[in-house]
Point group: C2
Chain length 238, copies 2
DNA sequence: CTTGCGTTACGAACGTGTTCGTGTTATACT
DNA sequence: AGTATAACACGAACACGTTCGTAACGCAAG
């Protein structure tokens, strides 16, 4: 692994032996920095510094920061996969899995935003998909709907995490929404009757309640909404 | 157009009359650049250059780039609000509004990501909320559920737009997902039976089909899921 | 008219992601 | 063994967002 062979130190820097940059090494260094100093310190330059090299060197193994963050996420997803014993209904189990997924993304909000644009493809993410598919099948959901439902569920959970991302980063959280709250409370009731009537309801309810409700909505909706029964557009793999 | 005629230190005395930086002026300049050169050119430095000043000057009127982008979005939402004649069922109308919303965000993907974390509060966004609330009420949805449903619908549409954001920016689109596709097609069928069986179904269907299906799922699910968080029994709804 | 003061404009600087060109290294081939 | 060649490491640079300190301004009071 660590090629401790000391190469001729005359032309090279007088550095004795550098562990020869690796993609996994970069990801490991990133995870170490993540745990030690937080996500905001996980920058290309900081990682390069930890590996005693320049930022440009990393781009041989990592396409960009998004790519790196996706790898980090897959490592974090190990905490989501933990095979819980089958407790509760399948709906409850879906909620539990998604809640664990949500909490992981809550802790690292930047990654949540990244996940929306770049899907992970690591082993832990695949296990997460598998786990959800199994639960939906257990709930009697047809195959074709289940695949889209998995996508929808994960998209929702990711979006919720991304939505709350700024709040964890900076203490000033309510400040941003307050603009919307203020706009709604001082709204012209003649132009926007519905908003004036039940505008405050928009912000009602706790986070977990809304999340659980939304999952139920997605599951019930999927169970009662068949995919376009028009004709099957079989994807020809050739 | 480099400002090369007034390098002497008597900087401002002889300036003719600069229009005296304004928040609205900054937003207008940003919109002008947006239409002329695209979103990727709408940077603080470019706006400052257009207003013949330095980047730091803008921060008196604009908190940060996110703040600026939110303002831009509200201006763009004017295209979504256009009061269409009541054609089709209320579900179809919801789909139409959300599709218009989606298309606006599709054109400016960076803004979609921003919208997830910073809610707009401008007049056009309020009108959008009002319009959706009215449609849901017209569909017979109870008030309490309708407010949460509006949030859910907009969150979904925004997330979809953000998800496809990278594809429009750079031509290399399929490359990112291809990692997931490759991982699924070459999957170990013993460890992930469900994924191996219907993995390709995950990517089936066209974008609009999935979008329309998801809206139906959200609407039907909301109509059958009361907010009262009473524990729902595991009863297959037949 | 002078003086003082709060507001605003802005040069300079720091840290960021990312790319290019170049020098270095290690492997493969003749 | 000697050499060709591809992969790699990395310094330097560019554009970006954001902040700080300071200089210029407008305006009211003296």
């Amino acid at each position: 692994m660590t090629n401790k062979d000391v190469p001729p130190p005359r032309s090279r820097r007088e550095r004795p032996a550098k562990p020869a940059l690796t993609r996994q090494g970069i990801i490991d260094a990133a995870l170490a920095i993540l745990r030690a100093e937080g996500l905001h310190k996980v920058t290309m330059r900081r990682i390069a510094q930890a590996l005693d090299t320049g930022p440009a060197s990393l781009y041989v193994y990592v396409r960009n920061t998004a790519d790196l963050h996706v790898q980090i996420l897959d490592a974090l997803l190990a905490a989501v996969i933990e095979p819980r014993a089958s407790e509760g209904t399948w709906r409850d189990q879906v909620k539990q899995v998604l809640t664990r997924y949500l909490f992981v993304l809550f802790d690292y909000p930047e990654i949540a935003r990244m996940t929306l644009t770049m899907h992970p493809s690591g082993p832990n993410y695949l296990s997460l998909l598998e786990q959800l598919l199994a639960l939906l099948k257990q709930g009697g959901m047809p195959d074709r709907e289940a695949t889209w439902a998995v996508d929808l569920l994960l998209l929702y959970a990711t979006a919720v995490a991304a939505e709350h991302s700024t709040r964890k980063e900076r203490g000033a959280a309510a400040e941003e929404d307050s603009a919307l709250v203020a706009a709604i409370t001082t709204i012209d009731a003649s132009r926007h009757p519905h908003l004036a009537h039940l505008g405050d309801e928009l912000f009602s309810g706790s986070g977990p309640d809304r999340f659980a409700w939304a999952i139920d909505v997605l599951l019930s909706g999927t169970l009662s909404t068949p995919r376009a029964a028009t004709e099957q557009e079989e994807v020809c793999p050739h």
